[in-house]
C-alpha cells in the first residue's frame, strides 16, 4: 500500500535522507517555509499526480493559497484530496533512485537513472541491478550505477541509496523511490517520496502502524482492514450496487463484469466467511457502510463456499438484514457450495421475495433489472 508523500518523507527524514522544508495543510495556509517559490502537492496515495494536475509550482503566497483552495475537496485519480503538502521548491538536476523488492529473484532491485521527473514513467520498463536483500549489496550495486556521476555529489547519492535500502529492510517495505532526486553541488534532496508498505508486516512495525493510525480518514481502507480483519474498499461513493462478497479475485472480477454491464459497483469486499465464527457482526458492519451511501440501489451477496456451511451463513445473513434498518433496497444472493439448499430454505422463510440462486448470471440479470427499473 502506497503512503502519501508527506509520510514517506517523514520516514526519509528519520533515515537521514534530506527532504525540502514543508508543511501539510488541510485548510488555512500557515507561515510558509522560506521565501518561495513553493510546490503545492495534493496528498493522495497515487502516482502520476503531476500529470493529473495535483502538483503546482507557485511564486507567491497568494498563488499558494489559491492552489490549496483549488485542490482541497476535489478528487484526483479516484482519491479525495483532504490535504496538501507545501514545500520550498528544490533545485538541481533531476535523477531517479529507487530500491524495491524484486519478487522473482527474492532480492532487491536498485534503479538509478539520469533522467528523473515524470519522463521516467513514460520510459517503460526501467532496468537496474538485482542484489541480495542487504544494505551492503545495495550499496555495491548502486556504486556501479553512479560510477560516472561527478565527485561533487556521487558520495551523497551513495549515502542516500544506502539509507533507502536500510529503511526498506528495517521497515519491511516493498518500494522506496525518490523521483525526482535533486542533485547539485549544494547538496542532494528528495523532491518526492513514493513508499509502498506491507500491511502484513504491520503487527511488527509499530512506526508504520502509527503512521496509518495518525490518518484514519486518509488511510481508511487500510485502517479498516487492520481493525476488522477483512477487506472493504469503497470504489465509488456514488455507486449503486453494494457488494457482500468473498474472495479478492472473484470480487474484483464481479466488479469488472458489473461495470462492463453498465452497473456502478459501490465497493470491493472480501468478507472471509470462515472467520465470522457464528456472529453476524461482520455482515452488519458491511451493510452499515454500504447503506450510508444514498445512491445505493441493490445489494449483491456472492458467496462461493468451499468450506463454509451455507446454512449457517444464511442464518447470519438473515440476522444481519433484520438488524440493519437502514437497508431499504433489494438484496440478491448467489450462494454456491456446502448446504446451499438449506441456505435457500432459511432465506426463503426469513426474506420472502429475495432471489437466492446458485447461478451468478441469473443474479447479475436480476441486478440489471433492479438498477434499470429505478434509474
Amino acid at each position: 500500500m502506497l503512503l502519501i508523500e508527506a509520510d514517506g518523507k517523514a520516514l526519509f527524514a528519520e533515515q537521514g535522507i534530506p527532504v525540502p522544508a514543508g508543511v501539510v495543510v488541510t485548510d488555512a495556509v500557515p507561515a510558509l517555509p522560506g521565501d518561495g517559490p513553493w510546490m503545492v502537492k495534493a496528498q493522495v496515495p497515487v502516482g502520476g499526480r503531476g500529470k493529473a494536475g495535483g502538483i503546482r509550482r507557485c511564486d507567491t503566497r497568494a498563488a499558494v493559497e489559491a492552489a490549496v483552495a483549488a485542490m482541497i475537496g476535489t478528487r484526483l485519480k479516484g482519491h479525495g484530496i483532504d490535504a496538501c503538502l507545501i514545500e520550498a521548491a528544490a533545485a538541481g538536476q533531476e535523477r531517479y533512485l529507487a530500491v524495491m523488492v524484486d519478487p522473482a529473484s527474492y532480492g532487491l532491485r536498485v534503479i538509478y537513472a539520469k533522467q528523473g521527473g515524470v519522463k521516467i514513467e513514460q520510459a517503460g520498463a526501467v532496468v537496474g541491478r538485482l542484489c541480495a536483500p542487504h544494505p551492503g549489496a545495495v550499496a555495491e550495486a548502486l556504486a556501479d550505477l553512479i560510477a560516472d556521476e561527478p565527485d561533487a555529489w556521487r558520495d551523497r547519492v551513495a549515502a542516500i541509496g544506502k539509507a533507502l535500502a536500510t529503511m526498506l529492510l528495517d521497515r519491511e517495505l516493498a518500494l522506496a523511490e525518490i523521483n525526482p532526486l535533486f542533485v547539485s553541488e549544494a547538496g542532494c534532496v528528495a523532491g518526492d517520496a513514493k513508499v509502498v508498505i506491507d500491511l502484513n508486516a504491520i503487527p511488527r512495525q509499530p512506526r508504520i502502524a502509527a503512521i496509518l493510525a495518525a490518518r484514519p480518514e486518509l488511510y481508511l481502507d487500510a485502517n479498516r482492514k487492520l481493525a476488522e480483519g477483512f477487506d472493504y474498499v469503497e470504489l465509488d461513493p456514488e455507486g449503486e450496487i453494494g457488494l457482500v462478497t468473498t474472495g479478492a479475485g472473484l470480487s474484483m472480477m464481479l466488479i469488472d463484469e458489473l461495470t462492463a454491464r453498465g452497473a456502478k459497483p459501490l465497493n470491493f469486499c472480501d468478507i472471509r466467511t470462515s472467520l465470522m465464527r457464528g456472529s453476524p457482526a461482520r455482515l452488519i458492519r458491511v451493510l452499515e457502510w454500504i447503506t450510508e451511501r444514498p445512491s445505493l440501489k441493490a445489494v449483491l451477496v456472492n458467496i462461493f463456499a468451499g468450506i463454509t456451511d451455507l446454512g449457517e451463513f444464511a442464518g447470519l445473513l438473515a440476522a444481519a438484514i433484520q438488524a440493519s434498518p437502514s437497508l431499504r433496497v433489494p438484496v440478491v444472493a448467489r450462494l454456491v457450495g456446502r448446504n446451499a439448499d438449506e441456505a435457500r430454505r432459511i432465506l426463503g422463510e426469513a426474506q420472502p421475495g429475495m432471489l437466492v440462486t446458485a447461478d451468478l448470471e441469473e443474479a447479475l440479470a436480476r441486478i440489471d433489472a433492479i438498477v434499470g427499473s429505478t434509474s
Binding site: M1, P103, N200, T246, M252, M253, D256
Partner: protein, 294 residues
C-alpha cells in the same frame, strides 16, 4: 514434483492439531490424498482421526517417508514452518496462511531455492490433481478430472472457473493456486513447463489479477517455450483503484506497471487468448474441448 503428484505421494500436515489442520487433514484424506502424518507442538496428541502425530517434521519424515507437506501455520509462523520442513528434507511445501509478511516470503523463497525444493504459497488454496489428490483446501465441488491445467492467483475466482468447467462436464488435469502475494513460491511462468510436459493437459487456463508482472513474465516464457499448448487467460481487476491493494497485497497498480492493459497486450502478443468475463472463457473452453468431456 507437481506434475508427478498422485494418490500415492506421501504427504504430512504441519500443525495438524489446530482447527484448520485437523479439519483439512480429514478432508484431504477423504479426497484421496495419502496423508501419512502430521506435526504438532502438543505432546499429548498421538493421532488425529487415525493420522499419526509427530513432534517435528524430521520425526515425521523419518517415520513415514513423506516428501510433501501442507503447512497449516499462521502467517507469522509460516517462515519457521518452512525452515523445519526444509531441514527435514521435504521437497514440496504448500503454505496456506493469508498475510505472510513480504520480507518473510523473501527469506522463504531464498531458503527453498537453496534447498532445491518447491514452494507453493505464501497464501494458496493449494494444489490438486483431480481424481488423485489435493494438497490444501480446493473445494471438491470444483474438482473434476479433465484436460485443462489451471494456475491462479485467486482462490475464489479459480473456484468459480473450476465449478463452471465441472458443471459443463469439463475438468482439470493439474490445478495450482499460486496465490495473490507479491512474493511467492512457484509463479505462472514456472508452471508452463509442468503443463507442457503433462500428457493429460491439453490446454492451460491462467487466472490472473492486476498488479505485479507475473502475467507479463508468463507471456514472455510462453512465447519463448514455443506456445506448445493453448493458453486462455482471465484477468481480474480492470476497475481496481490505483494505489490501493484490492484484498491481495499483490493486486496493486502503480502508474503503468501491473495494469490489465499491459498484461492483456503481452499475453495476446505471445499467442494467448485473454477473456474479459468468466462465461466467455468457459464458453470457449467448452467449444474447444467438447470431445474431452467426461
Amino acid at each position: 514434483m507437481i506434475g508427478s503428484l498422485s494418490r500415492t505421494t506421501p504427504v504430512i500436515v504441519q500443525g495438524i492439531t489446530g482447527r484448520m489442520g485437523r479439519s483439512h487433514a480429514v478432508l484431504m484424506r477423504a479426497y484421496g490424498t495419502n496423508i501419512v502424518g502430521g506435526t504438532s507442538t502438543r505432546a499429548d496428541t498421538k493421532d488425529v482421526a487415525g493420522v499419526p502425530v509427530f513432534a517435528s517434521c524430521a520425526d515425521a519424515v523419518l517415520a513415514t517417508g513423506a516428501v510433501a507437506s501442507v503447512a497449516m501455520a499462521p502467517p507469522e509462523e509460516t517462515w519457521g514452518a518452512v525452515q523445519e520442513a526444509l531441514a527435514a528434507g521435504i521437497k514440496l511445501i504448500v503454505t496456506v496462511a493469508e498475510g505472510v509478511p513480504m520480507h518473510d516470503a523473501i527469506r522463504i523463497g531464498r531458503a527453498v531455492r537453496r534447498a532445491g525444493a518447491i514452494w507453493v504459497g505464501a497464501s494458496t488454496p493449494g494444489v490438486a490433481v483431480p481424481g488423485e489428490c489435493k494438497l490444501g483446501f480446493l473445494p471438491d465441488v470444483c474438482l473434476n478430472p479433465g484436460p485443462l491445467g489451471i494456475m491462479s492467483k485467486s482462490g475464489t475466482l479459480s473456484y468459480e472457473v473450476g465449478y463452471r468447467l465441472a458443471r459443463d462436464g469439463l475438468g482439470q488435469s493439474i490445478w495450482v493456486g499460486v496465490g495473490g502475494d507479491p512474493v511467492k513460491g512457484v509463479r505462472f511462468a514456472d508452471l508452463l513447463p509442468v503443463f507442457f510436459d503433462d500428457p493429460g493437459t491439453k490446454g492451460i487456463i491462467l487466472v490472473g489479477e492486476v498488479g505485479g508482472t507475473e502475467e507479463e513474465e508468463c507471456a514472455a516464457a510462453y512465447a519463448r517455450l514455443g506456445a506448445r499448448k493453448p493458453l486462455f487467460a482471465l484477468i481480474a481487476g480492470r476497475e481496481a483503484k490505483e494505489g490501493v491493494s484490492m484484498g491481495h497485497a499483490g493486486a496493486l497498480v502503480h502508474g503503468e506497471f501491473g495494469t490489465i492493459e499491459s498484461k492483456t497486450k503481452q499475453l495476446t502478443a505471445a499467442g494467448a487468448r485473454v477473456f474479459t468475463s468468466i462465461e466467455s472463457l468457459i464458453g470457449q473452453c467448452g467449444r474447444i474441448y467438447r470431445f474431452d468431456k467426461r
